[in-house]
Structures are given as structure tokens and as C-alpha cells.
């Protein structure tokens, strides 16, 4: 259950790519599923009243350490990224409905873009019995992170950069599209920016693979109260707005309107 912990102690926070930090903090979070997120508030910044949703990148259950990958973008994430070991922050953890794989899944693809790569690491760590191929896209070499970990955890690893400074040049959805001509995946699990998910949708439509995507939306409560975080869904011809924070962030790609 999502629980507020007002004084979470940060144990380390280090730069792992341009504007990108790996933050670790102490927190007893049991049973968090991959794709779930923590909802963070910077202690003392009373002008920034809203929390920031950040996906779980990894959990060290033995030492009760949660790892996050945070990109310094606006005021809140910038304030989070300058926090140091010993500082505290105010969190709600864990929240959201993550990637839930049935026992039948033996082989899967994870596909992520940019900061959307972060939750996929916890995903492939978590489902130890599934064989994962990882497809990771970054704008450029300097924004890539945790490639060694992904290499170690994946069956195959494909990395694309928009500018070709690392791995293949181009979009990672194209690589998946090509591979799906021969590869068989029981499911494709994705996280990334809207345009990437849009391209992915076309690929999935073409190859008819089950696919679940994690969405991003601006949030309030993060626990389902306020209905500000919605995405458009379509089922049986009926359009609706569902809550990304509680009904998602992970949705069946065929249900959401991208």
C-alpha cells in the first residue's frame, strides 16, 4: 500500500549521465512491483507544493534501499538532484499499478526511451525467470546510463541513439520492428515519451504482440483521489479518462489512446 514516509534518508546521489542522477535512499517498501513509482516532495521547499512521481529503478530488499534515476528538468527535480547523503525527503511509496506478467510469459522484450529506461531495470531484475531482450533508446551517448547492468540482466541488448553517438543510430522502435520479423516475444513492455509510444503502437499493431506501456502524466495526489492525472482510454467504443496514478501507469497499449 502507498504510504507516506515524511523523513526518508538519502544514502547517496550521484551523476550517472548528463543531468541524470542515481539516487538511493532508505525505505522499507515491500512488495513493490516493477512500474510502480514513488511520489517525492522536497523537504523545506514549501513553494513547490506538488510531489514528483519517479519510477522505482531498483530495490535492494536486504538493505531496504530504493534506487531512482532522476533527470534534473524543472525546479523540483533540480532540487531533488542536489540532495546529498544524509539529507531527507518526503515520500509516498510505492504507488501505481505496475507491469504484471502472467506465469506463462517466458520471453519478453522491454523497450525504453530516455528516462523511461529507468523502470525497466527493476522489471527485468524482478521477473528472474523471464528471458528479456532490452531495447534502449537515448538522445545521445551522454544521456545513456546503466548499460552495463542492462547488459548483465538481458538476453540481448540493443541500444540506439538519435545521433548515433552510441550503438545504432536511429529510433529503437525501428530496431524492435525489424527484430519482430523473426523474434517471438510473449509480451512487449515499454516506457518512454509519448512520440516513442506512438511509434511503438504502429509496430505493435503490425506484429500483433501483447504490449503494456507505462504512461506519464502530471499528477496531484498520486493515490487516486483527485483525477487530474488521466489518460484517454477506449474500450468497447466508449471513451473515458482513467487515472495514470492508480489505474496505471501501466496500461494495455490497445486500451489507451496515444
Amino acid at each position: 500500500m502507498a504510504k507516506r514516509i515524511p523523513n526518508c534518508r538519502i544514502t547517496s546521489n550521484e551523476l550517472v549521465a548528463d543531468d541524470t542522477y542515481l539516487m538511493q535512499f532508505e525505505c522499507v517498501t515491500k512488495n513493490a512491483t516493477p512500474g510502480q513509482f514513488v511520489h517525492l516532495r522536497v523537504t523545506g521547499r514549501d513553494d513547490l507544493i506538488l510531489r514528483r512521481p519517479i519510477s522505482i529503478n531498483s530495490i535492494d530488499t536486504k538493505n531496504n534501499i530504493i534506487k531512482l534515476i532522476i533527470q534534473a528538468k524543472g525546479e523540483g527535480t533540480k532540487a531533488l538532484c542536489v540532495l546529498k547523503a544524509g539529507d531527507v525527503m518526503d515520500i509516498i511509496s510505492p504507488t501505481g499499478r505496475g507491469y504484471m506478467l502472467s506465469k506463462k510469459v517466458k520471453k519478453a522484450a522491454v523497450i525504453g526511451g530516455g528516462i523511461g529506461v529507468a523502470p525497466l531495470k527493476y522489471l527485468i531484475e524482478y521477473y528472474k525467470n523471464v528471458e528479456f531482450d532490452s531495447y534502449l533508446g537515448f538522445r545521445s551517448d551522454c544521456y545513456a546510463y546503466q548499460l552495463d547492468e542492462f547488459k548483465a540482466l538481458s538476453n540481448k541488448l540493443y541500444v540506439c541513439t538519435d545521433d548515433g553517438t552510441y550503438g545504432e543510430k536511429g529510433f529503437v522502435t525501428n530496431r524492435l520492428d525489424m527484430n519482430l520479423e523473426k523474434e517471438q516475444y510473449d509480451v512487449v513492455l515499454a516506457c518512454g515519451p509519448k512520440p516513442m509510444l506512438g511509434s511503438l503502437k504502429k509496430v505493435i499493431d503490425k506484429h500483433k504482440v501483447p504490449c503494456f506501456v507505462s504512461l506519464e502524466e502530471r499528477m496531484g495526489c498520486g493515490i487516486g483521489l483527485c483525477k487530474v492525472c488521466v489518460c484517454k482510454t477506449q474500450e468497447d467504443g466508449e471513451e473515458n479518462y482513467e487515472r495514470v496514478c492508480l489505474d496505471g501507469p501501466v496500461f494495455d497499449i490497445n486500451k489507451v489512446v496515444l
Binding site: 500500500m1 502507498a2 504510504k3 507516506r4 516532495r41 514549501d46 513553494d47 513547490l48 507544493i49 506538488l50 510531489r51 523540483g76 509516498i92 502524466e217 502530471r218 499528477m219 496531484g220 495526489c221 493515490i223 487516486g224 483521489l225 483527485c226 483525477k227 487530474v228 492525472c229 488521466v230 489518460c231 484517454k232 471513451e239 473515458n240 479518462y241 492508480l246
Partner: protein, 301 residues
Amino acid sequence: MNLKVDICGKTLKNPVIAASGCFGFGREMSIQYDLNTLGGIALKAVTAQKRIGNPPPRIAETPSGMLNAVGLQNSGVDQFIVKEMPFLDKLDTILFANVAGSTIEEYIEVTEKLQNIAVDFIELNISCPNVKEGGNAFGAEPDTIYKVVKQVKKVSKQPLIVKLSPNTVDIAANAVAAQEAGADGISLINTLIGMSVDVDRKRPILANISGGLSGPAIKPVALSMVYKVAQAVSIPIIGMGGIMTGRDAVEFLLCGATAVMCGTLNLIEPDGIPNVIAGIEEYMTQHKIDDINELIGGLIV
């Protein structure tokens, strides 16, 4: 120490109520704490028909505040009764059904449907800034307020609390109009109309362009309006706008509110309202106040 307050003959365990739209229909929060510790719950607005609401983004952060443009997303009053009331019926706290609409007929229809339901109060939301018709259009001027309140009052067995908009010239005149039309209480303030721009994308942050401003930023406006309304009407007042702590709540009580509502607080701190209640108790202990009713309207000017 007595925290009980009385509104229209109904007793609230304490004066802290969850504000409408920031607490859903209680279910999600019920796993965080025991809802029966609340003074009351104002439920999410219901309309005659299902509404899907506005497209996202529906929220933006502003200095010490936030904008929302949910746009009254709800499944309609019939579904509310079927789906939400069984859970709510089991609670032992005071319930405010928040009624919204685009026309006077819609307000009447929804209120009528709520007559045989165990909600303690009807809260008439004539102040939602996030829908094109209705909402603020009814709630801004005394004559329209009088009209809609008069009509709805006729069909409502439950005491009628009228929720006023701050986007107006003379809040006291609006409150007086509601009182004269038969309102049993006033709740205020709903959100101020605001906007926020992403300068890099040169676009408004909200898909709806503008939204309702809430949170600490609006507390001074809310206090001033509560104080003015308290000078003008004799019916009870429920004050809100930016309450984050017990001391914030006491500010409203001193200005003349019999109870308070907390909205945005719930979006930030799931344990916010219990902390506000504890904060009021702490204040009363410090100031050696035994009965919370001593605080109501106790401002020395």
C-alpha cells in the same frame, strides 16, 4: 477538550472536513486512515449525467499553489448512488453531497435524486470554474445565486450549504443572497481562476488553458472572504482555501467559520487532515482553550 461543532443541528466530531474533489468518494483514502476520525467528507461533485471531464494535463504547479481543471469528471448521480453509497453508508461521519450542473434544472434533478440517500448535507457547487456552462456563471452575482438556491431549496430535505466562488466583486452580497433564498449554510471559497504558461513550449500548461487555483497561495483571499461573510450572514460558514496545518484552520475559525474544509492538502499529504486535527488540539492545549466553539468568530479587531 471539546472539538465538536454543530452545523444546522448536526454534530460534527471535529470541525475538519475533507473538501470536495480532493477526496474522491472516500474509498482511496480509507486505506490510509480511519475515515470516521473526520469531521466530515464533502464528496466529489456529481452531475445528472456522466461527464468525462477535460483532457489532460489537468494540473499545474504555481508558487505555493496549484491549478486544476478536472472539469467535473463523474459517472452521474445514478451511478454515484449505486456504486458509492453502499461504501459511504457504513461510515460514521457527516457527508456532504456536492451537487454540480449546467442548468438550474440539472441542479434540481440531482438534488431530488439525493433525497432518499443518507447524505447529511447538500453542498450546492455553483462555483466550479472549470466548466463552460453553469458553475461560476451561477455563483458570481447575487441575483443568479438567489434564483438557483431558491429553486434547489424547495426540493432539498437535507440542509443546503451553498458553495461560493471567490471570483466576484462582493462576496458578502453573494452570501446574503444565498441566505435570503433559504441556504442553511455557506461554504467558501472555491478556487480562483488562474493560468500558467510553459514559456519553452509557448503553450498554456493546462489543456483547458485556465483552471482553478487552490492551496496556500489563496489562503489570504479565503480568510478575507470568510471574515466578510461572517459579518454579513447569520447562517453557519464552512471556510476553506489553503489550509495545511492546525494553525491555518484556527485562522479560519477565528474569522468566523464554524468548520473548515481541506482540499489541496490531501493531494500533498495523505495524512494531512489527521495532522490538522491534531494541530488544532495542540493549539487549544497551548492556549488553554477547552471548547473549540470559543474560537469561532473570536478574532479581536
